[in-house]
């Protein structure tokens, strides 16, 4: 067994070591140690089994938790995807693709507005991040005093604005007016771009008012909501041609931010509103015409001569001044040609062949009259 080379002295030592009698373990102690060992072995085995069961339980719980988390993540992802698809669907429905859209315009209602020769509304959208300008162009032609009230069926679905709307410069208005002798029943508009659902959409609608209910007017079937106390509500009436800039509100109505009455009088450059009426009061550089505060320049020479009761024609722009809206004058002239001082009425020219209408106390008297012949009708 031991094959190492040893010298005699070492071999002697080794023999002496090996010659020492070896102790034998006492049989009682042997059995006692065995029993103790086996008892310990049972405890260790039970503990190991319990530990394994606990580990298995932990593993099961971990797996269940992982599955739950995974399912949750998948559900969230699916929801996100579905939402994204819905947005895409909205985009698709919102977008006006390169396919031309035909706006069918059919005579619906006859009005007495003599001015309208043709109306144009152009729908222009742009995908740029800047406010999207949407202009609807609808051409309608008519002759004489009959005006076709276009029934527009414009599939215009524009998401609500998500940013501050910006007013469209007046110069961008696509409105044109010209006489034409050939009535056209159907008109078309070709969108030039796709509306962005993100950028706020400013809509410019120009056309005849077909309905007025409180502070909501209808132009080309667009319900356009104005401020309830907007002064222009006292100036417009059904049939008037208006230019409206606004945004599509949450309920689908267009909330107007700028509205101009284009019907009665050609507007000078830079003006959006024309107002005729008697001066009701003068307070510094502000005069009140038909209940509307008109802001003149501090050094306007008219302030030196204007008197209460004089009829003036004011063209300018409405501007908010705190809680009130004033008409800031671009041009103002005293109209001394027609007065009806007895009834505080004045003749409001339409600008066409002497046609016009009487307005009394700033309100339409609904009296149509040929100024020169005295012919007309009173309602």
């Amino acid at each position: 067994m031991i094959n190492d080379p040893f010298n005699p002295e070492e071999q002697n030592l080794i023999q002496q070591i090996q010659g020492i009698p070896r102790l034998q373990i006492d049989p009682t102690a042997r059995d006692a140690i065995r029993q103790r060992m086996l008892s310990e072995f049972r405890m260790v085995t039970q503990a190991a089994t319990a530990s394994a069961a606990a580990r298995a339980q932990v593993v099961r719980l971990a797996i269940a938790a992982a599955v739950a988390v995974t399912v949750t993540v998948i559900v969230v992802i699916v929801l996100v995807i579905l939402q994204s698809r819905n947005q895409n669907t909205d985009e698709i429905s919102t977008s006006i693709t390169t396919t031309p859209i035909t706006l069918s315009v059919t005579p619906q209602q006859t009005t007495t507005s003599p001015l309208l020769a043709s109306q144009t509304a152009t729908l222009i959208t742009s995908p740029s991040p800047s406010p999207t300008i949407v202009t609807v162009t609808v051409s309608a032609s008519e002759t004489g005093t009959h005006t076709s009230m276009p029934e527009t069926s414009v599939p215009l679905v524009i998401p609500g604005p998500s940013a501050t709307a910006e007013s469209l410069p007046t110069s961008s208005s696509q409105s044109t007016a010209s006489e034409t002798s050939t009535p056209t029943a159907t008109h078309s508009a070709t969108p030039s771009a796709t509306a962005s659902p993100v950028a706020p959409n400013i809509i410019v609608i120009e056309g005849p008012i077909t309905n007025i209910v409180n502070h909501v007017i209808t132009v080309y079937d667009f319900a356009i909501e104005l401020e309830p106390d907007h002064p222009i509500l006292t100036l417009i009436e059904i049939g008037d041609i208006v230019s409206i800039e606004g945004m599509v509100g949450s309920e689908g109505t267009v909330v107007a931010t700028v509205i101009s009455n284009l019907s009665d009088t050609p507007l000078v450059s830079g003006a959006t509103v024309s107002l005729d009426g008697p001066v009701e009061s003068i307070n510094g550089s502000i005069i009140v015409v038909n209940g509307i505060a008109v802001q003149l320049a501090e050094n306007d020479p008219l302030l030196q001569t204007v008197q209460i009761g004089q009829f003036v024609r004011v063209q300018g722009n409405f501007q908010g001044r705190g809680t009130t809206i004033v008409l800031v004058v671009v041009t103002i002239v005293v109209n001394t040609t027609v007065t009806d001082s007895e009834n505080s009425c004045y003749w409001k020219e339409s600008g066409m062949s002497g046609m016009g209408k009487w307005k009394c106390d700033g309100k339409d008297k609904e009296k149509w009259k040929d100024k020169e012949t005295g012919m007309g009708k009173n309602k």
Binding site: D4, L13, Q16, I17, R22, Q24, I25, L38, F41, V44
Partner: protein, 191 residues
């Protein structure tokens, strides 16, 4: 019926087989007790340490893997560590070595006493050696373990054990001679 190998017994024991544990116990109890009793001074201590070795065996059975460490070597290593811990805890010097007074076959009482004294001096000489030398000499020449296995137990290389074995035998010879001189001096003093 063929006897199961030690590896099979270990595998069964690791699966909770008490019979396998008992067989492993019976296989190694004598050598472990012998080794421990050679290194400690009392039978009861040897039995306690032997019991602790097998308790640790069953506690560590699930983790035991034969990565070049035979099961016997693993048990001897446990025993060696327990002996070290025992001496550290008790800080004892040389206890009276355990000798089996009935293990000699000599019939002459004088011869029997003389031989018993020689064995006692040898045990004292062994236990006077450094820890590593004791361990090596007992494992090598009492338990007859090969160098490779002792190397596993003592966590040393087989080559270093060979040189250590040379130094241990040399130290043992010197120590044994010292005890012999003391004995002669004592006898001369008595005369």
């Amino acid at each position: 019926m063929q006897q199961p190998t030690e590896q099979e017994l270990i595998a069964r024991a690791q699966r909770g087989d008490e019979q396998a544990v008992s067989l492993l116990y019976e296989t190694h109890i004598d050598s472990i007790f012998e080794y421990i009793s050679y290194r400690v001074g009392s039978r009861s201590t040897a039995e306690d340490l032997t019991s602790e070795v097998f308790l640790r065996m069953v506690r560590g059975m699930g983790r035991y893997q034969d990565h070049g460490m035979p099961f016997r070597a693993w048990l001897f290593r446990i025993a060696a560590n327990l002996i070290i811990d025992h001496y550290r805890a008790h800080k004892k010097g040389l206890d009276a070595p355990l000798l089996d007074n009935h293990a000699t076959s000599d019939t002459d009482p004088l011869d029997r006493v003389a031989k018993h004294e020689d064995q006692l001096r040898m045990r004292l000489a062994v236990r006077a050696l450094p820890e590593e030398y004791q361990n090596l000499l007992v494992l090598r020449f009492v338990e007859n373990l090969p160098h490779t296995e002792i190397a596993k137990i003592m966590n040393k290389s087989a080559e270093s054990l060979r040189s250590m074995q040379y130094r241990a035998l040399k130290a043992l010879a010197e120590q044994f001679e010292t005890f012999n001189k003391k004995r002669k001096t004592g006898l001369e003093g008595n005369q």
